[in-house]
Symmetry: C2
Subunit: 125 residues, 2 copies
DNA sequence: TACTAAGTTCGAGTTACTCGAAGTCAACCC
DNA sequence: GGGTTGACTTCGAGTAACTCGAACTTAGTA
């Protein structure tokens, strides 16, 4: 129900530094402080962080995420706008995936070439 | 056969700045200068650049690429070592692809939820 | 001859961390 | 109570890989 920086970092496999960094940028709504000024994360905060990590992994900038949050904070009227933003992002990830797949092939080919060079006696570069 | 910075940049969809940056780091073997001190890229250089972009897209650091090149320059004796390096890299890309696919799903779900919120009358967050 | 479009170097700026220092604080041990 | 540990705090600096702009050169065209 209530988690510390370290617990959150472990849960999401990121460094405590990064967790603090995100809170300092107000990227995670609903993070409170306890009596000792320590960050306390509730389940809602964890949910947000999950989304934020997905966005970041997908290449969305911190600034765009802040824009998304600003829309969220303006209430339900911004739902269509947020939806648009997400769809654009979805498209961007799809492209990124495609790009990565292509480059994966380039590397696969290179590995195959080296494999041949090593396991047969003669061949090309 | 011989290409300028701009031509190379267009061919690979990267900025001329980045092309120069890579040559300055000696990331691309075989880039010469013409009488006006301008960078000249041959077909071999283009081949290298293709590989380098694949490595970079796949998340390999510039430093690792430099290590790979250093091995290359030491000759055929380093082929097994280069092969090992490539296989490790291949593994890393595979993981990255998997990770990206996962985060794509997170975003897909969010998009679907928003879609529901907009197209049906009532629902959850 | 002037303009344009490319090139050059160099140094500064940007993004998203990443690290380390210096200090606070609760919990445990003896 | 004193000492150590471990996790927390802020803050400022460092890093990677671009990214940009300034100031300048040079070749080609009008």
């Amino acid at each position: 129900m209530a988690y510390s920086v370290k617990e959150v970092a472990e849960k999401f496999q990121i460094s405590p530094h990064t967790v603090r960094y995100y809170t300092d940028l107000d990227l995670i709504p609903g993070v409170e402080r306890d009596l000792n000024n320590r960050r306390v994360f509730g389940d809602a905060a964890l949910g947000w962080l999950k989304t934020i990590i997905a966005f970041r992994t997908a290449g969305m900038s911190v600034e765009s995420i802040q824009n998304y949050l600003a829309l969220y904070e303006k209430g339900d009227a911004t739902i269509p706008e947020r939806y648009e933003l997400l769809v654009v992002q979805q498209q961007a990830v799809a492209e990124k995936l495609e790009e990565l797949r292509k480059q994966m092939n380039v590397i696969n080919e290179k590995v195959a070439t080296y494999y041949d060079r090593i396991h047969r006696s003669s061949s090309r570069s």
